[in-house]
């Protein structure tokens, strides 16, 4: 097997736990701020690893560049949205979870 394929498979398989963690975090974490933290793992690392895994398979560097662009856009949007949602929740008077409740 081509070493590039093996690397791809490793990256793709590594991505799966982050999406699972994002979902489980979304379900299990106690408040909206913690859940945001879980969500951004899927945005940044999960999608990032998939992009790297697929970019290794791409035929031309243009295709890899397109994949990287998609990842950058999702990260940019994810960061902005996470900030805005957290701010809204904070202004709406929700207190971040302090571990006591």
């Amino acid at each position: 097997m081509d070493p590039r394929d093996i690397l791809s498979i490793v990256f793709l398989l590594a991505a799966a736990p982050f999406f699972l963690a994002g979902t489980i975090g979304l379900l299990r974490f106690p408040d909206v701020f913690c859940r945001l933290h879980a969500l951004t793992k899927a945005d940044n690392l999960g999608l990032g690893l998939i992009v790297i895994g697929l970019a290794l398979q791409a035929d031309t560097w243009l295709q890899s560049a397109r994949l990287l662009l998609i990842w950058l856009l999702v990260m940019l949007s994810g960061a902005t949205v996470a900030h805005l949602i957290a701010r809204t929740a904070l202004r709406a008077g929700r207190k971040p979870w302090s571990g006591r409740s």
Binding site: A15, L27, L39, Q57, L69, G78, V81, L84, I85, R91
Partner: protein, 96 residues
């Protein structure tokens, strides 16, 4: 490779199904918006993987559109709930 990509896409679809529970439970609107946001990212990943699995890279253009627009709905949501003070005041007025 094809099998792996298809399997991962299927796995991601299952995580979306799990994420639906959060939309159901809430408790706040922000939590529901978060799940929709996660679906957006997962959708991009599924599109990329399916594009690879079926060897159609023009599907990545659909993923690109998803990535470009993934913030719009959430920002619309934030701008809808942002005037926390004003909305609170209005509710108080109605209540009294």
């Amino acid at each position: 490779m094809t099998e792996l990509c298809a399997g991962l896409a299927l796995f991601l679809l299952v995580t979306i199904v799990l994420g639906l529970i959060r939309i159901r439970r809430g408790p706040s609107d922000a939590d529901r918006m978060l799940s929709a946001q996660l679906f957006g990212t997962t959708g991009v990943a599924i599109l990329l993987l399916l594009g690879q699995a079926t060897d159609r890279s023009f599907w990545w253009d659909v993923a690109l559109v998803f990535a470009l627009l993934s913030a719009v709905t959430a920002i619309a949501f934030v701008s809808r709930t942002e005037p926390a003070e004003t909305a609170q005041e209005q509710r108080d007025e109605h209540g009294s």
